[in-house]
């Protein structure tokens, strides 16, 4: 083998290492759908409660959304490999979900909940989790969602009830539905790029 051929083979090996590492890192989890699903679940629970003050509207909707998320995540996960980043992000959302599922029924049963407390606590939790996730992913758009949730939480402490409902519905629309659709479009773009580069 000539010196040039040997050098070319060594360069090929180095390129192979770089491309395979990039391929592994490009493996993205798709979670945009979960934001849309939970946004719709919040709307269902809010409108169901508004229709007839049914006390089980929130628990039933939230537990159903949880079950649907687990089933869809298991199906969509397929054979994708786990990364430290994806585990860190999933952990923050699971921890937030457990906190909400424990706290809100407890507040409801103890009778120490009202619309202001519920929206303030839920928005603050969503702000914290979105911020943690955005800092891990270095995703400015998601950090903007965290700011919207934190602003909603502060507004819930001082604002009147009627505009508060509108602010909460708007926050759900922008931070769950719009952000979720945006996430799904971004994920599809990354997948297309991956298919083109493969």
């Amino acid at each position: 083998m000539t010196a040039n051929a040997a050098e070319s083979e060594l360069k090929d090996r180095l390129n192979l290492i770089e491309s395979m590492i990039a391929e592994g890192r490009r493996t993205t989890e798709s979670w945009g759908w979960a934001f849309v699903l939970w946004g719709l679940a919040y709307y269902v629970a809010i409108f169901w409660t508004g229709l007839g003050h049914f006390p089980w509207a929130w628990p039933i909707t939230m537990v159903s959304a949880c079950a649907l998320t687990v089933v869809l995540a298991a199906r969509k996960g397929g054979s994708r490999p786990g990364t430290v980043k994806s585990r860190a992000i999933a952990s923050t959302w699971i921890a937030m979900g457990i906190s909400m599922l424990l706290l809100f029924p407890a507040l409801g049963i103890s009778g120490r909940i009202d619309q202001h407390i519920m929206i303030a606590v839920a928005s603050a939790m969503l702000g914290t989790t979105n911020a943690a996730s955005s800092l891990i992913l270095k995703w400015k758009m998601q950090f903007a969602c965290a700011l919207v949730w934190w602003a909603t939480a502060v507004f819930a402490c001082f604002g009147r009830s009627e505009p508060l409902t509108i602010v909460f519905l708007a926050a759900i629309f922008f931070c769950q539905i719009v952000f979720g659709v945006y996430g799904m479009i971004a994920e599809a773009r990354v997948r297309r790029q991956g298919a083109t580069n493969a």
């Binding site: 050098e7 192979l16 395979m20 590492i21 391929e23 592994g24 054979s79 585990r87």
Partner: protein
């Protein structure tokens, strides 16, 4: 003149190198994902993964998820060290070739 390093033959194989590089960027990966990313056949992939396992570079875990068998591969600390040393040796050799 410093002596040029030798390349680790276990890591140097093209498919084995691709597998180690892929596994270095994820926590663990399924056999089917590795097959899709490398475009290799089941038989060849299984044989190369076995060589890496025998060298102690990857660890394998077999389990059942929703009644379906799943084979997960994870890079070991020895494997990470071997890949790092291989890259260093490769760069050293390429540096030598460019100077030559």
């Amino acid at each position: 003149m410093p002596e040029l390093p030798e390349l680790n033959p276990v890591v140097h194989g093209k498919l084995r190198l691709a597998l180690l590089s892929l596994l270095s960027s994820v926590e663990e990966a399924e056999f089917t994902w590795l097959r899709a990313k490398t475009g290799s056949t089941d038989g060849n992939l299984g044989a190369q993964l076995l060589k890496l396992e025998e060298a102690g570079y990857v660890a394998v875990e077999k389990k059942f998820v929703q009644r379906k068998p799943q084979t997960l591969y994870r890079m070991t600390e020895t494997g990470r060290q071997a890949l790092t040393e291989y890259v260093q040796a490769l760069k050293q050799l390429l540096g030598g070739a460019m100077e030559g």
